[in-house]
Each structure stands twice: as C-alpha cells, then as structure tokens.
Assembly symmetry: C2
Homo-oligomer: 129 residues x 2
C-alpha cells in the first residue's frame, strides 16, 4: 500500500472512530473539502473541522465501507468508491459515494466527494423525524 | 500509462467522436453500466448500446474532460474525475462526475458514474426548452 492511500485509510478510520483530531491530522492547513453537489467548499482546517463535526453529529455510528481504491503514482491522487453509512435515530442510512483526494507531503490538501444530493436530503429528513 | 487506463481513455475518445462502435469495443459482452443516482443498471452490450445512443443523442457535441485518473495495479480498477460537457440547443451543459471502471482482460466489465441527479434533470430541461 502506498503512502497516500495509507493517509486516506487513516482519514476513514478517524471517521469510524469519530475522532475529530485524528481526522484533522490528515489535512494540510490550507486544505479544501467539498461535497460536490452541496457546496460550499470548506477551506482551511477551521472550516473543515466545523464541517466534520457537523457530519459526525448526524450519526450515532458511522461506517465508510471502501469497495475500491486506486492511486496515481505520478500525481499521488487517491480515489475511492464507498458506501457511507450513518446510524440515525436507530436506522442505518447509506449513500454511495466516490471520493477524490489530492495530497501534498503526506497530507490531504483537497478532498472532493461525489454523490447524489438527494441522499443527503433523505438523511436530513431522517434526522428531523 | 497502464493498459486499463488506456482502455478507459479509448472509451472517452469514443464518446467525444460520438462513435458508438468504438465505445462498445471497450466493453465485455456481460458488462454493466450504471449512472448511480439514476438507475437502472444497464446489463450486457445490447442494453449498454441503447443507453449510450440515448446519451449521445442528448448532445450535438460531447466532451469528457478528465481532471484526474488513477488505477489500482492489483485489482486493475480505474477511476477518474471528470467534467462531462454536452452541447444542448447551443448551450454547453456541464456536470462534475467521478467514474469507476472494473476491467477484465483489457475490457470494461463494470462502469459506475457518480454525480448529482439534479444535473441530469437540468440537462433534460434544456433539451425540452
């Protein structure tokens, strides 16, 4: 396993442990994080931490099941195909996701997740039910 | 460039040339193709050809701009991050997409595209305008 894929796996382990500090150690100071259909782009560690805390608060348990992962040896870009699962009010909500991660010196400087925004709406409805 | 990434690049070149036969040569007979938020899963070359022809008919010109691509040397899975552009009634419509490609013996046996379904609704509205 290459170094950059290893960093992305640490990021995912951090989500599953709900460990914000472990998650944040994976990012550069100037990193950007965006859920492509939702916007906005979260820029910098302060904004990313707030976004991460928001998502962590959605689920009583969180699982990111990685189906496939690949890394470009020249650019260092890592991509993965996942099912992200959130336990919300006793029900597991799942969303299919594809993630793109750009890294610099062993840290993620850009993270873009691709998925259908209606999945997020469905999660929110469950949260408010 | 590895062999599987090369096959995916041939697929994309086929779309841009609007060459259905070139596109279909990239797939195994039993391939599956799905736009994850839209469904259904198109199974087999006949169903995929019909789906491809449907999408090709949407745009007078088509561009798939690949921003990043990566391949897993063990599984052979290729992923890319793209902006797919369709010229519809004189306007370029764009959608951000992440694609996942599983290959077998140099042909694509599974293709899954991740994007926001509302983009597709926007394309259809432009087609009907």
């Amino acid at each position: 396993m290459s170094r950059n894929t290893d960093v992305v796996e640490r990021l995912i382990a951090g989500w599953e442990k709900r460990d914000v500090d472990a998650i944040m150690r994976c990012f550069t100071e100037d990193a950007t994080y965006v859920n492509v259909p939702l916007e906005p782009v979260h820029e910098g560690t302060e904004a990313i931490r707030a976004a991460v805390e928001g998502f962590l608060s959605m689920g009583d348990e969180i699982e990111f099941i990685v189906h496939h992962t690949s890394e470009n040896p020249e650019t260092g870009v890592v991509m993965n195909e996942r099912t992200d699962r959130f336990l919300i009010r006793g029900d597991w909500m799942e969303a299919p996701v594809a993630g793109v991660f750009e890294l610099r010196e062993g840290r993620i400087c850009a993270w873009r997740d691709y998925f259908d925004a209606s999945e997020f709406t469905r999660f929110q409805a469950q949260l408010e039910s």
